[in-house]
Amino acid sequence: MSNFVGGKNQVIADEDYEIVCLCQKGDVDAFGSLVEKYQKKMVNIAFRIIGDYEAASEVVQDAFVSAFKAMRKFRGDARFSTWLYRIVINASRNRMKQLRTRIRREGISIEGSRDSEDGPGIDPPDPGPSVLEQVEKREMEAKVQACINALADEYREVLVLRDIQGFSYGEISDILKLPDGTVKSRLFRAREALKDGLKEMIGDL
């Protein structure tokens, strides 16, 4: 733990500490408030890792239930949010493995299955841009997501956490339980790979 960025041996100030204590005593309603608080972040992480909104929603649901069950194992050596994100990333990783196994078995192309992503939960677009612009934007997003999906798991995770979710390197280190340097090197390679993928897909960047 000591090799983690930010010197995590010190006591971590956790804003969720009190609610977490209630949850550890079996307070389901208290856990509800945590779900409310973190569900958006959780769904977005899962969605960008998995690339499918429905699957991501299910994964997040499972992750929350697992989190509540494992609440007593939570010792407070990291922030609750960090612990929660770790859970959802692991769950997403497992789901990806399942999906890949199924796709390989059924011979369905990953791209084909992901054309119709961006589920019902997408934020309504700004009223400003025209319909054409909206369509173009959606198409572009789909392509970007496809490129993200094409990345290796370890690259994708750091890219999502850093470039999409904006986590600090320290947080990413905690979430993924990886040294800071590994996170950075993975992230740089991930960006390189993504750029290449986008260049291939879109043409000129």
Binding site: V35, Q39, K40, V60, F68, L198
Partner: protein
């Protein structure tokens, strides 16, 4: 190119601004002179923009509800599993309680079931009481029919001795005769049969009075009696100890039944006893029994006796008849001529009207 490779590796960090100022200046100098590296930087910037521009998705509105519902359901399920796991422990207590209650109930039942057996063992006493009641009614009013109190005792007690008694110990009332005859079976039979009649006997005796003396008709008489009496009568004839033992229970049971009948039977019994008080019993010893029987019969006819009946027993002939009281004296006189009167029981004073006479003719051996 070596420089380009190093620069490209650092471009990402450079974009993020996490490179030292020295490194930053070095990279920027290189980018100004190297077009391909500048293009890569531009592409990286564009890619980062595209990724950053990805819109956030909203979580499904049911998320919190579903998560909490699942947690609650799983908690209940967990509880259910917990309960199932400990279900045997929980049911054990009722099982133990039920078992205990069952054992107690069983023990009480067994104890209760044992009680009737105890009653059976005691029952001869009860029968004694009934029998003695009958005797109370009989004895004072009918001295002529000497039924010893001992004879009236429960069948149960007498049976084991029955076979012996037939040969060796006749009833007290017949003792004198026994001395002369050596083996006297019939007198034994008589009091026994009387016993067999039991309590309701009194009622029936009115109808079967005439049959009373006729040993051959005993079965018929017995048939008309209640089952209790019949059983008792059968028992008297059964010398086999084993059989007697089994019959004991029947007798005991009957004695219990008699106990209940006793009060109801009391009234007709008194009437019967009064009737019996008129009876006269005579024992005669003769050399030629058949001849004497015929003679006595003729005599009775001459004296105007009615309902003359003869009964053949093993060792004796019995004649019963109803005779006018005035004629008894004459009858006795004639009788003394015909044979030796061994025993004579006449009601004294001799009542008026008809009197039952029972004459036993025993052979001299």
């Amino acid at each position: 190119m070596m420089e380009c490779g190093t620069i490209l590796q650092r471009l990402s960090a450079y974009l993020e601004g996490i490179v030292s100022s020295e490194e930053k200046r070095f990279i920027e100098e290189h980018l100004l002179s190297c077009q391909p590296c500048s293009s890569v930087l531009r592409e990286l910037k564009r890619a980062s923009e595209l990724v950053r521009d990805l819109q956030e998705v909203e979580p499904p509105p049911w998320m919190t509800q579903k998560v909490l519902a699942r947690i609650r359901r799983e908690q209940e399920g967990k509880k259910g599993i917990f309960e199932k796991l400990f279900f045997p422990l929980r049911i054990k207590i009722p099982i133990q309680a039920t078992a205990t209650v069952l054992i107690v109930v069983l023990a009480i039942y067994v104890f209760k079931a044992g009680e009737p057996v105890l009653k059976r063992v005691q029952s001869p006493t009860a029968r004694d009481e009934v029998a003695s009641k009958v005797e109370d009614f009989r004895q004072p009013a009918a001295p002529a029919v000497e039924v010893p109190a001992r004879e009236a005792k429960p069948v149960l007690k007498e049976m084991p001795k029955l076979s012996d008694r037939r040969d060796v110990s006749p009833p007290v009332g017949e003792k004198g005769k026994e001395e002369m005859a050596g083996r006297v079976r019939e007198p034994v039979h008589e009091p026994m049969r009387e016993k067999a009649m039991g309590i309701p006997e009194g009622e029936r005796r009115v109808a079967h009075e005439r049959q009373e003396a006729a040993g051959g008709k005993l079965d018929e008489t017995v048939m008309t009696l209640g089952s209790a009496e019949r059983d008792a009568a059968k028992e008297k004839r059964m010398p086999a100890a084993g059989v007697v033992k089994t019959e004991e229970y029947g007798a005991v049971r009957d004695s219990l039944a008699n106990e209940q009948k006793a009060p109801a039977a009391a009234a007709p019994l008194r009437a019967a006893v009064a009737k019996r008080a008129e009876a006269a019993s005579i024992s005669v010893q003769a050399g030629d029994v058949k001849k004497v029987v015929d003679e006595i019969e003729d005599l009775l006819r001459q004296l105007g006796a009615t309902r003359i009946e003869k009964e053949s027993l093993q060792d004796a002939e019995v004649i019963t008849a109803e005779l006018q009281s005035e004629k008894i004296e004459e009858f006795m006189k004639e009788l003394r001529i015909k044979g030796e009167i061994k025993e004579e029981k006449l009601p004294s004073p001799i009542p008026t009207g008809k009197t039952s006479i029972r004459v036993e003719i025993l052979s001299v051996r």
